[in-house]
């Protein structure tokens, strides 16, 4: 390092990127129709609106319980079935268990799924199967397969190859190798990922509900649509409890399993 490195000249090379960044911000702000003046006005309006929402309409609370339960059930079943399916996909996507052709096809399918947000998958499913719980669960399950399939597939690929070989050496077939050699080793990761995905699914089930997959998201969306903002706030509060509850539950289970020594 020379003395020159500490002269103001060393900042010169930052000038061009900064100017570029500023220009990009200006351009994108123009495209979005964004502006600080608009934001200022909007924020005032937003705050007064949030004030209007209070107090929550507690009389609507009992009506919210059923959809909330439905949302939780959707997230739960999608997580369970999606995780099971994800294990199958992960095994098919692991290079040490399957031949390259199947692996690449599976990886391609997983990549395709991952490149589509769940809500778009939901839109496609709604076009095919109509509005309702069915489309919502399938969309969330597929999301689960995309995320866990890739992560678990990578985890399986990291399993020591020699261990699989030692099972083959006693004459075990593929299913036995998977059941006795692979599954025991991925269970901790599997549980922890499934819990993580459950948290995500709870959040997603609310968004998907608003598009028509049923549940509390639908209540929220219609309340806002019908300008019943007090009712909407009740739904918001129920949702907050759900999200925090799911998070706490997942933490609790994770800690419990960790205490048992299963997660290492």
């Amino acid at each position: 390092m020379t003395i020159n490195d500490f002269s103001p000249k060393r900042y010169y090379k930052l000038v061009l990127p900064t100017v570029g960044l500023l220009a990009l911000i200006k351009l994108t702000a123009w495209v979005c129709g964004a502006g600080f003046d608009k934001l200022g006005k909007g924020l005032l309006q937003g705050i007064s609106f949030v004030k209007i929402m209070f107090p929550p309409d507690w009389s609507a609370f009992p009506e919210m319980l059923e959809p909330a339960l439905q949302s939780i059930a959707i997230a739960f079943i999608a997580t369970v079935l999606g995780t099971l399916l994800a294990v199958v996909f992960a095994i098919a996507a692991a290079s040490n268990l399957t031949n390259p052709i199947i692996r690449n096809i599976t990886r391609f399918l997983i990549g395709l799924e991952r490149s589509l947000p769940e809500i778009i998958i939901l839109l496609i499913l709604i076009a095919g199967y109509g509005l309702g719980v069915f489309s919502g669960i399938v969309a969330l399950s597929l999301g689960c397969v995309g995320m866990l399939g890739k992560l678990l597939g990578d985890i399986i690929e990291e399993i020591d190859h020699t261990m699989i070989e030692s099972l083959e050496a006693v004459g075990a077939n593929k299913l036995q190798v998977i059941w006795f050699g692979v599954i025991p080793q991925i269970v901790p990761n599997l549980v922890s990922l499934a819990l993580f995905r459950f948290e995500i699914n709870i959040r997603l089930s609310i968004i998907l509900g608003a598009v028509g997959a049923g549940g509390i998201g639908y209540e929220l969306d219609t309340s806002f649509g019908l300008l019943q903002f007090h009712r909407g706030l009740t739904a918001v509060l129920v949702i907050l409890v759900m999200v925090v509850g799911a998070e706490q539950l997942s933490h609790f289970i994770r800690n419990k399993i960790k205490l048992k020594g299963a997660l290492k």
């Binding site: 070989e165 099972l167 050496a169 006693v170 077939n173 006795f180």
Partner: protein
């Protein structure tokens, strides 16, 4: 009976790692394979149970009924059937992590039970008791309930040996079964393997010529992928030098003989 003839293997980079390995092992024989590191001992062992396909040559295993099969030629399905009867102890033990010691031993019978049972019911209590007996033989029964992740190297090795014994094999292959054991446990294992060889052929790789001299009935020495010695287990110092190289000799000039034969 195990009949290995003319195994050759050339690596993709053109190096010939196995070069015409041929030997026969009969019932009642305990063959110890010696050789310097990288000689091709482990590769030979891997060919013997079909984990590695040699470029040419054959490995013919003949059972008591006179039924013989060439491990290098048969299809995958039949290979699985043959492997059920081959007990293997790997150089790196290769246990299933996070499964208990007992399960790791019972896994030895996987090929022998039906897929359906192994997936849904699993092993029976009788098999578990037998597995505990196998663990008792290697003095590991006190740890049968623990997971393998916490075991020491020697303990893992003994679990791997128990697995091979539990398999009640028709051929036992052991790649450095005592390399991680303390001297007294090494003796326990060798004393355990020796009587097994009365009923089945046993082939083991060792780095301890004094051990093979004491327990094996025959010694084969491999160097650079070729067999350079096949015969009496008691090797002379000159023969050892031929196998392991001049360094062995130089060492002995400064110290007392390390590899002297009792």
């Amino acid at each position: 009976m195990l009949e290995v003839s003319n195994l050759t293997k050339v690596l993709p980079n053109g190096r010939k790692v196995l070069d015409g390995i041929s030997f026969k092992v009969k019932k009642g024989e305990f063959v110890g394979i010696l050789g310097p590191s990288g000689a091709g001992k482990s590769l030979t062992m891997r060919c013997l149970n079909g984990l590695l396909k040699p470029d040419s040559g054959s490995v013919v295993l003949t059972d008591d009924q006179g039924f013989s099969s060439d491990i290098c030629q048969i299809k995958k399905r039949e290979l699985r059937k043959v492997r059920q009867k081959i007990g293997v102890i790997f150089q790196g033990y290769h246990l299933v992590k996070r499964a208990s010691v007992l399960e790791n031993v019972m896994i030895g019978r996987l090929g022998q039970i039906s897929t359906f049972r192994s997936l849904f019911y699993g092993f029976t209590d009788k098999e578990a008791e037998e597995a505990v007996k196998a663990l008792e033989q290697v003095k590991m029964d006190h740890l049968s309930g623990t997971t393998t992740s916490g075991l020491s190297g020697g303990e893992m090795q003994r679990v791997a040996i128990a697995r091979a014994i539990f398999q009640s094999p028709a051929l036992l292959l052991a790649d450095e079964p005592i390399s991680n054991l303390d001297p007294s446990n090494a003796k326990v294992i060798m004393k355990l393997i020796r009587p097994l060889s009365e009923n089945i052929p046993v082939v083991g790789v060792f780095h301890q010529p004094e051990m093979t001299a004491k327990y094996c009935t025959r010694v084969i020495a491999i160097k650079d992928g070729k067999i350079i010695y096949d015969g009496d287990p008691k090797l002379t110092n000159d023969q050892l030098v031929e196998i392991y190289g001049e360094e062995l000799h130089q060492l002995e000039q400064h110290e007392q003989p390390v590899l002297a034969i009792q």
